[in-house]
């Protein structure tokens, strides 16, 4: 019974990693860049929901909609101002470093506006969840909603990418930007669209992250961002179902290792498992093996 409880806890944590990882992997898969600022987009989304809800005396639905719109704008603007000029730079590291700069920038702006002290976030989900076995096993509402939302996002993204013209353009751009441009695809527009979707997902992820763990500070997004990145790599970065699986696996592994091995060393164990998985399957659980051409 206690094992099941821990498993459910792992699922709750994993579902949060999964929904963040979806946005991460989306941007990485298409734009081929590690957007280190993704975690901070989440933080921005949380603060927007927090402020709007406070201003409208607790109306979180409007807050989420505003957050999605503003995060999308933020994502597109960031892409245009900071990332686009570096497309085609001599090293792919240039844009990575810029993303880190953007991450610092967002954190420090939040610090100046909201201060460093944590804020308690009111959950956007007012559902207790379901209980089994006479209340001994409980799955929280936010966990169920997060998993459902992740699955919906997963399906919609898959359909969008595989069935629409825009989605096909994204795939083409991710394979080969120059060739895609020759085929008449507006690569800049396509990547901007990717960022728009990725950032909108960050706002949704933020709402769910802060509903599950209701503590909000300028650094809220940083560590979940990195963990979600790890999850995305674990699942095979660029693969959308992979991100979902990676997130869930990471959450469950983290909770179980804390439970049965050591809570002191849980970070080491989680990262250790990542290393082992990558050694056995160097491109992650669902990653495609790319044959290198001479």
């Amino acid at each position: 019974m206690s094992f099941l409880t821990y498993l459910i806890n792992g699922l709750s944590l994993g579902s949060i990693y999964a929904i963040i990882a979806l946005g991460y992997t989306m941007v990485y898969g298409i734009a081929k860049m590690l957007n280190f600022a993704h975690g901070d987009f989440i933080m921005v989304g949380c603060y927007i929901i927090f402020s709007v809800s406070a201003a409208l005396s607790g109306n979180s639905v409007v807050g989420i909609i505003v957050a999605i719109i503003l995060c999308t704008l933020l994502g597109v603007t960031t892409e245009f101002v900071a990332y686009r000029p570096l497309r085609g730079a001599a090293s792919p590291l240039a844009v990575l470093i810029t993303a880190i700069g953007v991450s610092y920038l967002l954190e420090n702006i939040a610090l100046l506006i909201y201060g460093a002290d944590i804020k308690s976030f009111t959950s956007v989900i007012n559902w207790e969840g379901v209980s089994f076995a006479g209340g001994q096993l409980k799955i929280q509402g936010v966990t169920i909603v997060t998993i459902l939302v992740s699955v919906v996002i997963l399906i919609v993204l898959q359909l969008f990418i595989n069935k629409t013209k825009q989605g096909q353009a994204m795939l083409a751009a991710s394979e080969d930007k120059a060739a895609a441009a020759l085929m008449g695809i507006d690569v800049n527009k396509t990547i901007a669209l990717t960022f728009a979707i990725g950032s909108a997902l960050a706002a949704v992820a933020g709402a769910l992250l802060c509903s599950a763990y209701p503590s909000l500070s300028p650094y809220t997004g940083a560590m979940p961002g990195i963990k979600a990145f790890v999850a995305a790599v674990l699942g095979g970065i660029g693969s959308i179902p992979g991100a979902m699986i990676g997130g869930l696996v990471l959450g469950i592994v983290e909770i179980l290792s804390k439970t049965y091995i050591s809570s002191q060393l849980s970070d080491a164990i989680v990262f250790g498992i990542l290393v082992i998985v990558l050694l056995v399957k160097p491109t992650g659980i669902l990653g495609k093996k790319v044959q290198e051409k001479v």
């Binding site: 000029p85 001599a90 240039a94 420090n108 002191q264 080491a268 050694l279 491109t283």
Partner: protein, 354 residues
């Protein structure tokens, strides 16, 4: 003298010239305490930037866990210095601390390199990040003490050491090591920097170095010409880890409290070093040294701006990246200024990448 030799000597020259200028300023009392305090950190950040550039620029493998090696060097040497503080006189002790710190970092560089270097690209990067975090987390759970019965070790808690009353807990979990002798100074830092530069620059211009760069540029072709790909990769990675370990020794003997916390050894710190390397020019060793010094100084010089300091720093970082790396900006700059720009002037580099 060949062109590369000349370039190498310019690098040493700049370091030595900077050293002499700063020493003169210090002796004549023209250097503020603030700046004096920055000198040693600047040298060890320059050293680890050189180490990382060997890994990222010359070997071509992105590592975002290099501060983990620095952490290993720092802890092993500080442990040694603390344990033998009463027994061995300062000079041989500090020398041995260097050897131990470097050896431990190199050993782990080698061991970690075996699995890591089988991976590629971003997967390799994330695994180095993972190892950096593992090192930090494990050291945070170390408890080592010495008493009359000898060494005690546990990974549970200080109580489980079962020490005698007179025992001395040297590594105390999250509290780390306190009271490491303050042995590092600017001169030693500069000497370590010069030795690191000497090793890396000579490696780059040697047969081995050319083999390493051949692997970076096209490993299939390199393998086809009979280069031992794994061997050379391991060599470069281990040397890089060893130099990072030397930076760690300087670090732990400069401030007396050493804790394995994210501020110093986490992925964020490793990324900071990566910023130095990228801004200084990937593969450009001299650039790394200069960028490390300038970027370490920048937030310190902005102290007057108080809370806006880190905000300005991040904006400057973004702008510097765009100015230095954007293909359009580079083209425009070439048209307007005929190819001269600040970083390439500073580093004596003519092209975008080495």
């Amino acid at each position: 003298m060949s062109k590369t030799q000349k370039s190498n000597f310019i690098t040493y020259g700049i370091v030595i010239a900077a050293y002499i200028i700063l020493e003169v300023l210090m002796l004549t009392g023209n250097l503020s305490s603030h700046l004096k305090g920055l000198l040693v950190p600047m040298t060890y950040y320059a050293v680890i930037a050189v180490a990382l550039n060997l890994c990222v620029g010359i070997l071509g493998e992105l590592s975002i866990g290099h501060c983990g090696f620095m952490c290993l060097g720092a802890f092993s040497s500080a442990f040694f210095s603390r344990a033998t503080e009463q027994i061995i006189p300062t000079v041989p002790r500090f020398l041995m601390a260097f050897i131990i710190g470097i050896a431990v970092a190199a050993l782990f560089g080698f061991l970690i390199g075996i699995p890591v270097l089988r991976l590629k690209g971003d997967y390799l990067a994330i695994v180095t990040l993972a190892f950096g975090e593992i090192i930090k987390n494990v050291i945070n759970s170390f408890y080592i003490g010495i008493d009359s019965k000898g060494l005690h070790f546990t990974m549970k808690s200080a109580m489980d050491l079962n020490m005698e009353k007179d025992g001395d807990i040297i590594i105390n979990g999250a509290m780390g090591i306190t009271g490491t002798p303050h042995n590092a100074n600017f001169t030693i830092g500069i000497v370590v920097l010069l030795i690191s530069l000497f090793i890396v620059q000579n490696l780059v211009n040697s047969r081995d170095g050319r083999a390493i760069m051949a692997i970076r540029d096209n490993y299939i072709a390199a393998e086809a010409t009979g280069i031992n790909v794994t061997g050379y990769k391991m060599m470069a990675f281990t040397i890089s880890a060893a130099i990072a370990g030397a930076a760690g020794v300087l670090f732990s003997h400069n401030i007396t409290t050493l804790t394995a916390s994210s501020q110093y050894f986490g992925y964020n710190a490793s990324i900071m070093i990566l910023v130095y390397v990228v801004l200084g020019g990937i593969g450009n060793i001299r650039g790394s040294v200069i960028a490390a010094c300038i970027l370490y100084m920048l937030p310190e010089m902005l102290r007057g701006l108080n809370t806006y300091r880190m905000l300005i720093y991040s904006i400057v970082l973004i702008i510097m990246m765009i100015v230095n790396w954007s293909p359009k900006v580079i083209a425009w700059r070439k048209k307007t200024f005929g190819g001269l720009n600040l970083i390439s002037i500073l580093t004596g580099k003519k092209k975008g990448v080495a």
